[in-house]
Amino acid sequence: MTLDALNTILLIPAVSAAGLALLPGYRLSARLNVMATLLTFLTALSLFVVEPVSGQYLLVDDLNKVFIVLTTFIGFTTSVFSASYIEHEIDIGRLTPGFLRFYHAMYQALMFSMNLALVANNIGLMWVAVEVATLTTVLMVGIYRTHEALEAAWKYFILGSVGIALALFGTILVYMAARPVIGEGTDAMVWTVLVSRAAAFDPALLNVAFVFLLLGYGTKVGLAPLHAWLPDAHAEGPTPISAVLSGLLLNVALYALLRFKMLLAVNPGSIAPGPLMVTMGLISVIFASLMLYRRRDIKRMFAYSSIEHMGIIVFAFGMGGPLANFAGLLHMTMHSLTKSAIFFAVGHIAQVKGTQKIADIGGLTVSNPVLGWGLMLGVVAIVGLPPLGIFMSEFLVVSSTFTRAPWLTIILVLGLLIALGGLFLRVGGVVFGEVRGPTAPAEASYVPMFTHLALVLLAGIYLPPVLVAGFQNVARLLG
């Protein structure tokens, strides 16, 4: 098979994963890591220029194109952040170079698996990719070997495995549904074929399949009540991984879910997946925003905010309709950028202050103005205040769904308000007020954080037409 952009973005991480596993010396490997991710990102960008032909195993279309670019981009910026972050971890001896070799290899492996999940055209392959991604992150969450870290990793592992099983069962069911129509063999698992023939599938089977897929992949998305692994995994793992988890892995799982939703959207007899998704979305929003109030660990708090936003997105897709779907896609993108930016800031803050406890951090705008205002801007963005991008998506979600389902939308709006209250209640003291904790200047690279925030700001004011066109196509497909 020819070497086009499509398999290049898989090849680069795979190769560099192997390479970094062998390579000693963390400084060099950190640089190589950045290089690799940068290359991957550039290759991904080329997808917009020349669109490679989709094969039986890999495909590229409007839906995943955007996500590939987003994933590789955040992968790149995170690796830049990670380089300076890891440096500090080594200095204070939380990590040893030995672990770092493993860390960088795993990082690339994670990139590989996420890219694979995004470009996979075969639902079996997609399943495998998502699971590999899960397992790699499990290993990275546990990297600090503290009790908290081990426990978080273990919890993630167990819940993840159950999710894996459920997702697989769903996949099998989809195959069973497809087989009578398409016939035995691989074709019955190729997504493009499936979506073209899905109208003829047995609806009842599809429904059961979707339930399992919703729960299976939903576990990865972190929807309540399947969320349990998410906060601890974010809080206890190294911050770059938290950024990748919130920024990318959740998206990838959601992407998988969307693929199957599109199947059901095509099939007339099947239940509308909407109600299920809307319910789980609302539960997640309300639950997560209430959980924000009593958080003491800043990373865990933002992990819960990720759950809330996943809820919003799932709600949007559940409601469906061109506007809501568009909003959902936009929200996914914006949330990834913003949340990873916030985690960049939080990572450095935690390093400066030597703690993640909210109570021990204060007055950042005085002690570390750049970090403080950066975090503030990130929070302003994440709660959906203008002129940043998330406001646009929330505007579209609420305004386009209110006439269709007033009460549900009102619940959503309540959730948004509660979340805003919770976040500002906690962050206000961190950013303003008297200085608490050490005030050493952070040796940090602010570039990734502010790049993300700048992009979010730009998106809030002006969306590039190519993005809009792509999103609108997908929104139509999502029904």
């Binding site: 894996i164 697989l168 087989r179």
Partner: protein, 220 residues
């Protein structure tokens, strides 16, 4: 496939469900392991039978994995671990066995109902087989959530996974079955090793150094 073959496949699948019920009933660890071995053995049989009737030689590999890895290696190594870590032989159940059985029956009924809505258009095997597979999966989950004991929870997970393999092999001509079964075996190996590494005695979330509850996120 015609009558006899179908009936045998049906019988095997059914007995898998039966095995799950037996596991649900056990309250001693060793007994549980033995039953699990039986469970895996039945699975191996049914997979082998599917391979035979579907003329799908690659399924024999899956059968072999089921037989060797699940029916022999895993139970043995778990025996070892139990001895090593000196885990209590009794299983502390969160819910009484009686209740569990009733719940199990309910689950089986549920999976039947769900599956019978499938239009007969999908061939009989699909429906019956899936119904059984689904019940095995659900029963596996039930074991996981009703047993407090780590090993028994692992066993539950493994039986759940057997159900998946059953479904996968039942799905005629499904690609990647072998790969998937391998992948799962690896996963299970991970878990078992995990239990061994983290010296998890009683519960998933208690490592022997200290009970991990205190570290569950933010200390209360």
């Amino acid at each position: 496939m015609h009558g006899l073959e179908f009936d045998i496949a049906h019988m095997l699948a059914g007995s898998l469900v039966l095995a799950s019920f037996m596991m649900l009933y056990q309250d001693r660890l060793y007994a549980l392991l033995n039953v699990y071995a039986l469970h895996a053995f039945v699975l191996a049989l049914s997979v082998a039978w599917q391979a035979f009737v579907q003329h799908a030689p690659h399924l024999y590999v899956t059968a072999a994995i089921a037989l060797i890895f699940k029916a022999i290696i895993i139970p043995v190594s778990l025996h070892r671990i139990i001895v090593r870590l000196g885990i209590h032989r009794e299983i502390e159940t969160a819910v009484g066995v009686g209740m569990t059985m009733i719940a199990g029956i309910g689950l089986v009924a549920l999976s039947m109902v769900v599956m019978l809505r499938v239009t007969p258009g999908a061939d009989a095997l699909a429906r019956e087989d899936l119904a059984f597979a689904l019940s095995v999966v659900l029963l596996g989950l039930l074991i996981m959530v009703t047993r407090r004991n780590a090993v028994s929870q692992v066993v539950g997970f493994m039986s759940l996974e057997n159900g998946l393999v059953l479904a996968a092999t039942g799905a005629k001509g499904m690609p990647l079955v072998v790969e998937i079964s391998v992948a799962f075996s690896v996963l299970i190996a991970f878990i078992v090793i995990g239990i061994f590494l983290f010296r998890i005695r009683e519960r998933f979330d208690s490592v022997d150094i200290q009970a991990l509850d205190r570290f569950r996120g933010e200390r209360r």
